[in-house]
Symmetry: C2
Subunit: 330 residues, 2 copies
C-alpha cells in the first residue's frame, strides 16, 4: 500500500490522508489500521483534559515544546466540541501553528466531536494508533469538559492530566469533580492568579475523598476477557503541579513528571496491561460485528423483520425475540 | 412477580426497588425490564439539558408543577455528575422535595453518572421505561453539561429542551454550541437578567447556522435495521422561550410548547418511529450479547487465549485473529 509506505517514510501529506480516512471510518481507514497494527504500541499517549478557561491549549503547546527539546516527535490530537459552529478546529490549528510551525516533528490534528456520537473514543484511538505507527513518540490528546465522552477519551491515554485554574466558579469546579478520579497528574495552571492556594487546597481535599484510579477495562463484553492471573496495581502518587503556561513556568517539571509516569507504567507492567486491554477491546468489537453479520446472513429472508414487528406490536419482549431468532437460526 | 405487581399498583417503595435494580443492571433489573416491556411506549420523555448556572433544576421543578396542574403523573430523572464527591444526588432530592413533596404523583430519582461509563444512556433508558410502565405520563430527564454523554441521553427523549441563561461566559456558550442541534425547544432562563436580548440574539444566529436535528438512529449495528419505507421527517420549528423559573414566569407557555411537540410527534409518525428505534436498539444489543456468549462457549478450550496472545505478540492483526477464530468455530 503506497500511501502507508509514504506515511512510514514520514510523508506528512500521506499521514494527513490516512488520518482523514480513519477519522471518517472509511473502508480504507479500517484497512490502514489493520495494516499499521504491527507498528503500534510504542507511543506514549498523554491525555489532557479540563474545563474551558483553564489555559489548557497553551499548556499543551508548552508541553509539546518541552518534549521537542528532548528530541521526541510529538503529535497533538485536539478534540474540539465547538467546531461545527465556530470553526474552532480550523482556527485552533492556525493559532497553535504560530508556536510550533515549521517543526517537521510536530503534527497537530484537530477533530470535531460533532457527528461522532458514541464513536469518538474509537475514532480517537484510531487516530492515535496512526500517529504511533508513523513514529511519533508522544501523542497528546486534548479534550474539553468533563462529560462522559471526555472521561472515555481520557481513558485511552497512558497518562492523564487534569487541568484546573484559580478563580473559576464553584459550579464549574463541581462539574469537574468526576474527572479528578482519572487524573495521574493534577495541574493548577494560571498559578500567578490570586486564589491559587485555595484552588490547590480544594483539589487536595477532593483528592483525599477520591478513590484510587480505577483501571478496569471497558470491555465490550466481559465474556471476551483474556483469562490469566490478575496483575496488581502499584500505587502511583497523584501529585499537583503548578504552572503558568503563558510564561512556560513549571512546564519543564510537568514534562518530567509525565516521563516519570511513563517509567512507572513500564516498571509496574501496567503499560503492557493497557496495551492488552486496547487490543482485546479491538478484537471484541470486530468479533461482535462479524458474528452479527454472519448471523443475519444465515436467517431466512424476512424472518428478522417478522420478529421485530412482533416486538413492536408488544407480542414479544426483546428477550423473547432474541431467543426466537437464535433458535430459528440454530 | 410480586414486586412488579406492587409497582403496577402504584407502590412507591416497590418502584424504588425496581429502579435500583435497573440502575445497577442486576439480573432482577434486566428481568423486570423484559417483564414490563409490554406496558412501555406511552410516557412522554422530555430531556432538559444545559450548563450549570442556567437554573435548570428550578425550571424542571416548575415544569413538573405545570404538568401536575394538568393532572399528569410526573417522574424526574436527575443525572448528577457531581454526586460522588459532593453527595449532590442525595442533597438534590431533598432540595427538590420542598416544592413537590407530599405529591403522590411525582417521583424524583437522582442518578450519579459516575461508574456508569459507556452505560449511562442505557441505564437511563431502563429507568425511564420503568417509570413509563408504572404509569407516569411525563418523564423529565435532566442532564448537566454538553459532553457526548449528555447528547446521547438527550437523544433518549421525545422532546429535548436546551436551557441557556444570559451572562454566562463566552467559553461556556461556545462549549454548548454542539448541543443546540439536538434542541426541540430553546429556553432562555433567568430572562430578567441584563443581557437577555444579546443571549437570545446569539442563540438565534447559532440556530440559523445549525443543521436540522438529525434523527438518525444510533444503531448498535447497521445490519440490524428493520427494512421498510423511509419515513419523511416533517419540520418542527425550533422556538426560543423566555422564562424566569424562580418566579414561574413563562413556564406555563413552555409546558404548552412541550405538549405541542408531543402532538406533532404523534401526528407526523415520529413518535412511533422513535419507539421502533428504541426497541430495535434493545433487540440488537441483546442479540449481540447472546451471539458472543454462544460463540465463546463453542470455542475449544484455550483457543481464544491462544489467538489473543498472538495478537499481543503482533503476529496477528485483530482482523486476522477474528478470521481465524470464526474459521475455527465454523
Amino acid at each position: 500500500m503506497t500511501l502507508l509506505d509514504s506515511l512510514r517514510r514520514g510523508d506528512r501529506l500521506a499521514l494527513a490522508r490516512v488520518l482523514t480516512h480513519v477519522e471518517n471510518d472509511t473502508p480504507e481507514g479500517r484497512a490502514a489500521l489493520q495494516e499499521l497494527f504491527r507498528q503500534t504500541g510504542r507511543a506514549h499517549l498523554v491525555g489532557v483534559t479540563g474545563a474551558p478557561g483553564t489555559g489548557k491549549s497553551s499548556l499543551v503547546n508548552q508541553l509539546a515544546l518541552q518534549f521537542r527539546m528532548a528530541k521526541a516527535r510529538v503529535a497533538i490530537i485536539a478534540i474540539d466540541p465547538t467546531s461545527p459552529f465556530t470553526g474552532g478546529a480550523v482556527l485552533g490549528d492556525r493559532v497553535r501553528m504560530k508556536d510550533l510551525s515549521g517543526d517537521e516533528d510536530v503534527f497537530i490534528r484537530s477533530m470535531a466531536s460533532r457527528g461522532a456520537l458514541g464513536g469518538l473514543a474509537r475514532t480517537t484511538s484510531g487516530v492515535a494508533q496512526v500517529f504511533d505507527a508513523a513514529g511519533y513518540d508522544t501523542v497528546i490528546i486534548e479534550t474539553v469538559g468533563a462529560g462522559q465522552g471526555e472521561v472515555e477519551i481520557a481513558r485511552l491515554a497512558h497518562t492523564t492530566l487534569v487541568v484546573e485554574a484559580p478563580g473559576l466558579g464553584d459550579d464549574i469546579q463541581a462539574i469537574k469533580a468526576g474527572i479528578l478520579e482519572i487524573a495521574d497528574v493534577l495541574v493548577v495552571n494560571k498559578a500567578d492568579l490570586p486564589g491559587v492556594d485555595n484552588a490547590e487546597k480544594a483539589l487536595r481535599s477532593m483528592l483525599e475523598l477520591a478513590h484510587p484510579r480505577s483501571r478496569e477495562l471497558l470491555h465490550h463484553s466481559e465474556l471476551l476477557k483474556i483469562d490469566g492471573p490478575e496483575q496488581m496495581e502499584e500505587a502511583w502518587p497523584v501529585t499537583i503541579v503548578r504552572t503558568v503556561a503563558t510564561r512556560g513556568d513549571g512546564v519543564e517539571g510537568l514534562a518530567q513528571k509525565i516521563r516519570e509516569h511513563a517509567a512507572y507504567l513500564h516498571a509496574s507492567g501496567n503499560w503492557t496491561r493497557r496495551e492488552e486491554e486496547r487490543v482485546t477491546a479491538d478484537v471484541s468489537a470486530l468479533l461482535e460485528n462479524s458474528l452479527v453479520a454472519q448471523f443475519r446472513a444465515g436467517l431466512p429472508e424476512g424472518r428478522y423483520n417478522e420478529v421485530m414487528r412482533q416486538v413492536l406490536g408488544k407480542q414479544l419482549s426483546p428477550k423473547e425475540a432474541v431467543a426466537l431468532l437464535i433458535d430459528h437460526a440454530g
